[in-house]
């Protein structure tokens, strides 16, 4: 409760996110239609009690597509972001803590990844390895860790000079003990903020890939229905475009607000 009072963005984002997650989890109850199945209707039909968000030109139910799309978006972004954070800690923590040649090496690799246009590379990799869910998740994480790794390293550089780290050394604690028990918990706050932003990035990247036809064909993705809507809007099928877009926007917005809220909590001085 006290956390909510401290940050309005956190309150709003948690309300939005939990409703979105609720809709995603109960998709199977809220609709009895398979999102991928065609032929529920003859061509485009506008929203009606039977199809709350209408159908597309192939007779797919937009409502169930949008709800199942929540699952895809959140699953891809959560898993890939967790992997991203894992990789960035594995790279950033030793780089910052040990410094020297190891730091040089790891940071040059990081720079390399940062210097290439990310989305183009992701498209490339998906084309090469094939558009399956696992591949998309792995590819998104492999090309997203450098920013967070840099944040981890910078934080470690400042925290390893604190006196409590010196005190742990004086007690005789080993490097791993110090890195994971003394430094890592103090590195996490800014990393969590950055990873929330990374999550909204991943949602958009997955939607972008699906829009380009590079999503997993067996998953209902918001990006893919937008690609379908591109043709439908010419004949007045606005509902195919509107509902999924609204969901993408609200989800990304609430994840960004979550990042903001986390920042408010970790840096209480930055409020107002």
């Amino acid at each position: 409760m006290f956390l909510f009072r401290r940050s309005r963005s956190l309150t709003i984002s948690l309300i939005l996110l939990s409703s979105i997650i609720f809709l995603g989890l109960t998709a199977g109850i809220l609709t009895d239609k398979d999102p991928l199945k065609t032929g529920y209707s003859q061509g485009l039909t506008p929203p009606s009690p039977q199809f709350p968000m209408g159908t597309d030109q192939l007779g797919r139910d937009v409502f169930s597509w949008t709800l199942y799309g929540i699952r895809t978006a959140l699953f891809v972004s959560l898993v890939s972001t967790s992997l991203t954070v894992l990789i960035s800690i594995t790279v950033g923590l030793p780089a910052g803590y040990f410094g020297g040649k190891l730091d040089q090496l790891l940071m040059r690799v990081t720079d390399f990844f940062l210097s290439i246009p990310r989305f183009i590379l992701i498209i490339f990799a998906v084309i090469i390895f094939g558009p399956t869910l696992t591949n998309i998740i792995l590819i998104l994480s492999v090309f997203s860790w450098p920013t967070i790794a840099r944040i981890v390293r910078a934080e470690v550089l400042s925290i390893k000079e604190r006196e409590y780290v010196q005190a742990a050394k004086v007690l005789g604690a080993g490097n791993f003990d110090i890195m994971f028990n003394e430094i890592l918990p103090n590195v996490m706050p800014p990393v969590l903020v950055a990873s929330a932003l990374q999550m909204s990035d991943a949602i958009l990247a997955e939607a972008g890939l699906s829009f380009l036809g590079l999503g997993d064909p067996n998953m209902a993705s918001w990006g893919r229905i937008l690609a379908i809507a591109r043709q439908a809007i010419y004949v007045g099928g606005w509902w195919t475009l509107a509902f999924p877009s609204i969901f993408i926007t609200i989800t990304v917005l609430s994840v960004n607000l979550l990042a903001d809220g986390l920042n408010d909590i970790f840096n209480p001085k930055s409020i107002r």
């Binding site: 409590y164 005190a167 004086v170 005789g172």
Partner: protein, 337 residues
Amino acid sequence: MQWLKEGSVLANMRQTIFLITGLKKYYMVKTGLFSKAYIKAVDGVNFHIREGETYCIVGESGSGKTTVTKMLLGLEQPTEGKIEFLGKDLAKILSNNSSAKEFRKNVQAVFQDPYSSLNPRKTVKDILEKPFKVHNSVIEEKTVVRLLEEVGLTPAKEFLPRYVHQLSGGQRQRVCIARALALKPKVVILDEPTAALDVTIKAQILNLLIDLKEKYNLTYVIISHELPLLKSIADKVSVMYAGKVVEEGPAERIFNSPKHPYTLGLLESIPPPDPKSAKSKTLPTLEGEPPSPVNPPKGCRFHPRCPYRFNLCDKLEPKEIEVFPEHRVSCHLLDKK
């Protein structure tokens, strides 16, 4: 009074815990794209610390006193010179895992800033259990509670689940002291243990330190620039200036008959308790600032600020002279006589 003499002989025979010879620490700094310079933080320091002693190192900021303690703790490698711990080379002790652990058990530290020397994400219980975890010994809540009681944090059970930000400065410093004592060390190195505390708390912490020392027969190495506080606790004092020890001796000698002009200056710059006294109005100060550690002055490093300097001071580095048993001074003024 035969027994008294024997007592003093015994004092000299006490075990030497740290023996420091020719200790130097230079840090490299880049001054340009291709040029570099060395910061001479510690530049040739000799002293020894005996068992049961309270050894104080005083000096201005930047005199190298903190660097000396970091080397004593094995947190920094000396550039040159040697530190012996109980007769063994510290570098060798630290290169072997089991002897390093033994050294860690024996030598503990309390740092200057109680606000940053405790991990903000841990509770008092976590912090005090850490020493036992590191040394794989059994942790009982009893032991941790006793530690807290030892440093005057009672009722101890109330403090265990607290986070650092729920403690006051004095309480934090007590937790730091408890952590340092957990492994029953021989030596505790205290880097300005009272600098960040309120005046009333300072006295409390100092008294606590004195009590604990007697109880556990500890050896203290105290770094400070607060001479009046040290007066009540020090056995031996060494005065550092620009990376060198300019005067070292038994505390009563240093406080009552200082020989080096710098020591004199430090002692005189303590404001007297009565603000109306004549001395308060003309409080003597040391002119100028400590020299740059990159380019220390030639000859005696103190000469640009020394009120008694003469023609020899900027040319020749003064030798160490023993003016009294155990009381050594590096100053040309004493040479002249």
